[in-house]
Symmetry: D2
Subunit: 344 residues, 4 copies
């Protein structure tokens, strides 16, 4: 870390910083410029927050961090991409992060047994290899449908038995965790819980893979630090999921940050998938952005599918019906549009 | 709610919408324009999500909600401002939302017994009427200081006994709730937990007032809906707290949305306080924005104070020392700058 | 447009609105709900701003627009995609919006004759079909390099003669327009000038195609309305360019809004290209996001290339060298990663 | 500036950076840490962009700037606050940045002679000391009212003669500048033109004070750099104006960044005023946020006032009528709400 002194910093103020850097467990390194002095805190064993707090010491202009704060999720720690295996009772499980792109599909919420079983069979027929479905739903308003809870978990298990598709479902609370672990193959952390650290700490101790959605206002760095909670706590079966961020744009539900997928994969070895349903909130755009997600390097997509979107208990406007979902899957195999060659 | 049909919508598509609106428990009302038709869903007993989902029905352009989705927190439900009383063992408690502005102060985290007791006595002397201090700290990185936990709670209780100041501290998890209720006078929901619905549902059943911070990417409407979880679950002792939102501006830690305080008070009867420490992240700006918070209508401020900010275990850069805090308090009583009168 | 009355609106207030809607040239249409009344302003010939201003009339809660405000750029006006032809002295010009994807490449700024000619020949060899290069540079600071001006225009013309590549360059001011029209084949409106309406009005009268970059905080709707200035003023040779928007994310220079390309193409018949260089600001991500841009439906990409990025007078960090650029072009023809097939 | 080498940077790569720093006119200063090496570029006469571009050199992780890029607008250059005098034919002009707060009021656009003269007399009676009114209007859509142009300028001059209030009006184009200079006392740069550098360069040569609005997505640093264009070009009669930024919040027209006023005044000696009308877009909030603007340190406010807001040709929803404006002015002199004193 680097402490930038103000233009008029006195020798005494610089001395004070040098001493504080030593107290914090780093070696100080001073560079005196014509206009200002900078003091680097060198070493890896010191207490970073003590250097950060020096920004309010007299004579200091600002403090700049130069190293990335995450470790276990970093490519520097582990250059090879990780592969996370989900399910596995049959057929060896679904590999996320391997050579092939994984398609996860299903309704936003489990509305009923009929709806889920019909969707599960339909998405499998179309080419999905995992099933999604919400049992516990985080809803902005207390008056909206909050999910069927344990009843939904039982229906999800029945669908898995019927289709062989491993199941991912959201966990909203440490109290539901044991129960959900019994029924699901993968636990999802919703976007609004990305920095629910109590939840992350418990998930770090669980023997199930975790799907960690990016928070609506989380930077890529904060997202990776949330994953770091899981890895440093003992669970390295983590898949990241980009689902759009909140910006000024109102033409879509979120701003789908597809470039962040490439950046996350550059910085981290963890697999990254994309959620085009929440990313755009618009049925009509899902085919195009799903192709873009694969093109940019996503290891999979997670898509909301409902037999009759206009009757869905949640997220109808962004859900595909089964026919539309088949078209999206087919689109993933179509070649890219050709490039105009230069005239010679 | 209003369903806007597309320009080329057919009679049959319009009929379908009319029927669906009836099925959802509303009365349909059709307005045929020269270019397009709109169908209003009239009534208050229907299922809103079924109307929302019609945005994907054939012939529909979009669906617009016209009424506010919150009820119990609304000024329409209760025109008079609410007053929340905190503490009360001595002197009748601190009233938030009454005629006078409340000042809550203390360190970001309880670092040690000495630090907290010194701060508590100092902030009381300067004019604070409540004490803040973190025992469980939400931290972006797992490698940062996570709080002293129960030890900090005991120190906070000691400080309350010493000074008479009621104590507010953050609760991060349903599992810690009973313990924290024993020690604290008010429970804080941190910004990153504003939409931790499991936490909100449990807090709704607790007999303590709640300080609900606005999430870093929450709209005022979403913030009020989070409060609605508390009121609809049985706890109406809720104080809102604006603490800055996340934007593109990097010159301050957050963008302190002072106008949102005026808006929240216009829409809701709940008291609203301001957190200038997180709102700006800069010691040097806290005096000015605290005055602005009072001017815009805040019922109080919550400020981070530390005997030695550059030695704070967290949030040093935005903490005031005791001398600076006294100046901030004095500034709250200074008159506004006079207005230039027109020449006659 | 729809005027939503407040819950307690009186008959007299409703009558006032009905009359105002008539005065504004629309027909009023009243729907009385159990809780509130809405009044629609029906018709296409009225004055919209008079209805918008009713939001402050007594008894009104809010006013909602339901139709899109743009006309000539809309798909509803012209369902078939437009094709814009650039250049054309030789080989019939470059078609943007046709079956093939167009690659535009070149340096951020024309730094010198040698640099530009080397780049122009190199990008042509690698597969580019148009040349970019800044003569007049919009720079955040007055102390940064502002471009070589007319000298750069002459060098660009020489490069075009040498390679046959049509040239696009930015116009920052109405005063430079005639000059730039003499030298360039396409005029670029920079992101920060997207709502420079004086510039747009002049460009509407020019006989050259225009490349209209999206503003860093412009919604897709505002972007299309900026294009509407060009079309309504007489110039329909317009290509849109997505180049990233400003958000809270600091890991990349901008948030590259790839989904907005799909949305813009759904709403408008105009061609849309993507600028991965400004969109991410990171050399290492440009290959991945360029593929994603083509996958999401972009009609082309515009990429910054410099023979020696670390010596560029501007935008070095996001420029590719010629070898990297060749790899990006090759990547555009590689097939998408295969999809994992379900186990049967 | 500081060049941070990657963890595995070789000696040869470090040598290359050292040499490049010398070539760019700085002295290199190397700090070798246990994990990584940093190289500072020391001195003030070098070419900054050459150091920035090193971020793509082999072995470099990133490049960090440590000094502020603006000079003439900085408090470091001129510690005392600047005072800008507007008008002055009568009564010595209006001083912005002096002891008293200045109130500028008037309609968004000059709609007619009657409307403007009535408003001018009314706002003067209520206590305004300057008049605003748009002759040339930047409008998002080409189909909206674009202003009366020269006719409006003549009406503004008549209003000034009638009331003695100096006039500020927006200039959108270099072509209108001479004309507007004849009629107006102060030239406004609208938010969307804040980085219209051609316009700024011309304004730098004009002998009139400039009101520079902050762009909707401009950081405080970018705003000050826009002002730096004016000062470095020769015009130091500059007043900054905060008018809200674009964020995800949809409950108000913009997010009014009141804290940025305090930050701008800390960094710069220039006067700063606030525009609560655009800052919130809501009539009902303008009183509260105007008080907050004065409390946070603004040197004045600029408010939209219209004799009949619901008949305004532009910005009706955020305009005050004369009675409301009087109440806002009165509110600026009311004392702040008292602070609850601690029980002893």
């Amino acid at each position: 870390m680097i402490v930038n002194m103000s233009d008029g910093a006195t020798e005494r103020q610089i001395e004070h910083i040098i001493q504080r850097i030593r107290e914090a467990g780093f070696q100080p390194h001073v560079t005196r410029g014509t206009e200002r002095t900078i003091v680097a805190a060198v070493g890896s064993g010191g207490r970073r927050h003590e250097i950060e707090a020096l920004s309010v010491a007299p004579g200091v202009d600002n403090v700049v961090a130069i190293a990335q704060p995450f470790k276990l999720v970093s490519r520097q720690t582990r250059p090879q991409p990780s592969v996370v295996v989900v399910g596995g009772q049959k057929n060896g499980g679904v590999k996320i992060g391997a050579a092939e792109v994984v398609v996860i599909a299903g309704p936003c919420s489990v509305d009923s047994r009929e709806q889920l079983l019909e969707t599960a069979q339909g998405v499998k027929r179309a080419g999905a290899t995992m099933l999604r479905g919400g049992a516990y739903k985080p809803r902005t308003s207390p008056y909206e449908f909050q999910g069927l809870g344990i009843e939904a978990l039982k229906i999800l298990r029945e669908a898995r038995e019927l289709t062989g598709l491993p199941v991912v479902t959201e966990v909203m609370s440490t109290e539901d965790m044991d129960l959900i672990c019994e029924y699901a193959d993968m636990l999802q952390v919703g976007a609004r819980n990305m920095q629910n650290f109590a939840l992350l700490r418990r998930l770090a101790t669980v023997k199930k893979p975790v799907l960690l959605k990016r928070g609506p206002s989380a930077t890529v760095k904060e997202w990776l630090l949330a994953a770091e909670y899981l890895l440093s706590g003992g669970n390295d079966q983590v898949v990241l999921c980009e689902r759009g961020i909140k910006t000024f744009e109102t033409g879509m539900r979120n701003t789908f940050d597809l470039a962040a997928i490439a950046l996350a994969k550059e910085l981290s070895h963890l697999p990254v998938i994309a959620d085009p349903s929440h990313g755009t909130g618009k049925q009509s755009l899902i085919g195009a952005v799903s192709r873009a997600a694969v093109a940019v390097g996503a290891d999979g997509i997670i898509v909301e599918v409902h037999p009759c979107p206009e009757r869905a208990l949640s997220d109808g406007p962004q859900s595909l019906d089964l026919t539309q979902f088949e078209a999206v899957i087919r689109g993933l195999s179509a070649p890219l549009r050709p490039v105009l060659a230069p005239a010679l």
